[in-house]
């Protein structure tokens, strides 16, 4: 076994272990902040696996999009609303846990079965290496043009929805609850603090 192949094996083992343990932690940890940080670790190890498959552009894009944007925004949202409050007990929680565990386990068994009975062509296609960026660009603008554009329309819709939800003050009634919005609260005129202080001239 050469140095390169043994290094590769060790890297694969470490990355897979990090990926599996990390994703278990994301699901099982009670602290939501830990889950969010571990999710970043999971995305990073996935990028490492892409790197080992010689897909360096995909790996960098994974880091940029999932770690740099998605995970940061998730953390951002958690930290902005992270109130320490005890949530009301959900009825039948153990049963729900068992059910969702069964569904996930079934899905896992199904995926494992697919992974084992599919005749994978080994060794896989030769990696294109540094040319991958050019190939991806060509595909995006020829045979994958429609999905690419549809994805951008989807993102635009999400963005407009977010703006509508965030700028509730422009509507007379709340979008979700239908209650009238107290716009006076938002546009309360500023009263200068100092003008209410009793006149200083009275002091000798």
């Amino acid at each position: 076994m050469t140095i390169a192949s043994s290094t590769q094996l060790i890297c694969f083992a470490v990355l897979s272990a990090a990926l599996l343990l990390g994703s278990l932690g994301v699901v099982l940890l009670p602290n939501i902040v830990y889950s969010a940080f571990l999710l970043g670790g999971v995305f990073l190890s996935m990028a490492g696996l892409y790197l080992m498959l010689n897909a360096s552009f995909v790996a960098a894009a994974q880091v940029l999009v999932y770690v740099g944007a998605v995970n940061v925004l998730i953390l951002f949202a958690i930290m902005l609303v992270n109130k320490k409050e005890t949530l009301a007990a959900i009825p039948g929680l153990p049963l729900r846990r068992v059910l969702s565990g069964l569904v996930c386990g079934g899905l896992g068994v199904l995926l494992l079965r697919v992974a084992f009975i599919t005749p994978w062509p080994l060794p896989g296609p030769t990696p294109v290496g540094e040319e991958a960026t050019i190939r991806i660009g060509e595909h995006l603008f020829s045979d994958y043009l429609l999905p690419f554009e549809l994805a951008s329309v989807l993102l635009l819709m999400a963005m407009i929805g977010a703006i509508v939800l965030a700028r509730r003050d422009v509507f007379a009634s709340d979008v979700i609850t239908g209650e009238p919005v107290d716009q006076g609260l938002l546009e309360k005129t500023r009263t200068p603090l100092l003008s209410e202080i009793p006149a200083l001239e009275s002091t000798p």
């Binding site: 140095i3 880091v63 940061v72 930290m79």
Partner: protein, 381 residues
């Protein structure tokens, strides 16, 4: 490896790796072992260069700020106070490392590491000459963009783990700022990449090599240069964009609770990032290791062949000196900016990023594409 188009193939230049491998194999060691011996050398060299760069940077910051405020600045530690940064560093190393009782110890320790590691990793793609970089990966500049997006996670982590409202606010500000300025930054880089048809930093420099100072990207991308510089300053959290650690509002932002070596990691990270940004501005817009006059012309006038060993050595040294000089010129401007302009407010910062820089960067990209189609000879057809 990246293959260059034949028409613009530059002289091979100094290849230290090949020479080193030749020497080691000449001693009778195997090929694999020679590679193994070579691997750590450039990494250690770049790490040392980065740290020395920070020391120089800290000294410059102290001296220039003193000059701006008509003081003398550090004077007793070494000649002109050059040993002052070293004294600062030693002080930080020996300080007690305090973890607040109510803080989250694990995340508190991990935060500074996550801030520093991506910055150091990004030095992978900084070229000091044709073959003088750790790895000419095809991703090049894209690797830097994606690595620098990891940093806000470290900032959020340390802000959260400190269990302090100022820290949390600082961390949140850092993340918001970093996300807003990443997009115009990437668009400005994209315009340059479009002109050089490659993401590789070496190719980007080679594309600017034709006619010395006249062929540098700054003349073809003046708007992109300004956008990139503003965004780079914002990503480094330098004044006028140092909101995450604004002393007057947030004590010290996400670093409030940190001391000793953990604080030193933040400090090191921010200065390494500044040097890195300056180096990348010089690579993207100021011709990288290129001399204002092409060295091939100079060698031709002196009647020397560019492939002669001595000429190659001189060319490589001039290249390193030019890269560092350009970078430190930019660092000088960054320091001068820090000590002359006031801080922007958070709403002004986000307005500038989203409502001004982003549209301008988009227009810049479109105009570059149009010019590339119209004048392929000047804009890299």
């Amino acid at each position: 490896m990246v293959t260059l188009p034949v028409a613009t193939l530059p002289p091979a230049g100094l290849d230290l790796q090949a020479s080193f491998l030749d020497v080691i194999q000449g001693l009778g060691l195997s090929d694999g072992l020679a590679h193994l011996l070579w691997l750590p050398l450039p990494m250690v060299l770049v790490l040392v260069a980065a740290v020395v760069g920070v020391l120089v940077n800290v000294w410059l910051e102290r001296k220039i700020s003193a000059a701006v405020q008509q003081r003398i600045g550090p004077e007793y530690a070494g000649a002109l106070g050059v040993l002052q940064p070293l004294a600062d560093g030693m002080k930080l190393v020996f300080k007690e490392d305090v973890i607040p009782v109510r803080a989250d110890g694990l995340l508190f320790t991990l935060g500074p590491v996550l801030v520093l590691v991506p910055v150091i990793l990004s030095w992978l793609v900084v070229p000091f000459g044709q073959n003088l970089l750790i790895s000419n990966v095809g991703l090049g500049i894209f690797l830097w963009i994606s690595l620098s997006s990891i940093q806000p996670i470290g900032l959020l982590m340390s802000g959260y783990a400190s269990n302090n409202k100022y820290s949390l606010l600082g961390g949140l500000r850092a993340a918001a700022q970093s996300i807003s300025y990443e997009i115009p930054l990437a668009l400005a880089v994209l315009a340059v990449v479009m002109m050089s048809n490659s993401l590789s930093t070496v190719d980007i420099v080679n594309q600017q090599a034709g006619a010395g100072i006249l062929s540098w990207n700054i003349w073809r991308q003046p708007v992109g240069f300004v956008i990139f510089w503003i965004c780079a300053l914002a990503e480094c959290e330098r004044l006028p964009f140092d909101l995450p650690e604004a002393e007057e509002e947030l004590v010290a932002g996400y670093q409030t609770e940190y001391s000793g070596m953990k604080f030193a990691l933040f400090y090191l990270g921010s200065y390494i990032n500044l040097v890195l940004s300056a180096l990348l501005v010089s690579v993207l817009y100021l011709g990288g290791w290129g001399f204002p006059l092409p060295v091939e012309w100079l060698a031709g006038w002196l009647g020397q062949s560019v492939d002669a060993p001595l000429v190659q050595l001189v060319t490589a040294s001039v290249g390193v000196v030019m890269t560092v000089m350009k970078a430190y010129l930019l660092v000088f401007f960054a320091i001068l900016l820090r000590w002359t302009v006031p801080r922007v407010r958070i709403d002004q910062l986000l307005d500038l990023g989203w409502k001004f820089l982003l549209p301008i960067a988009l227009v810049n990209l479109l105009v570059t594409a149009a010019l590339k189609l119209a004048f392929p000879a000047f804009f890299g057809g």
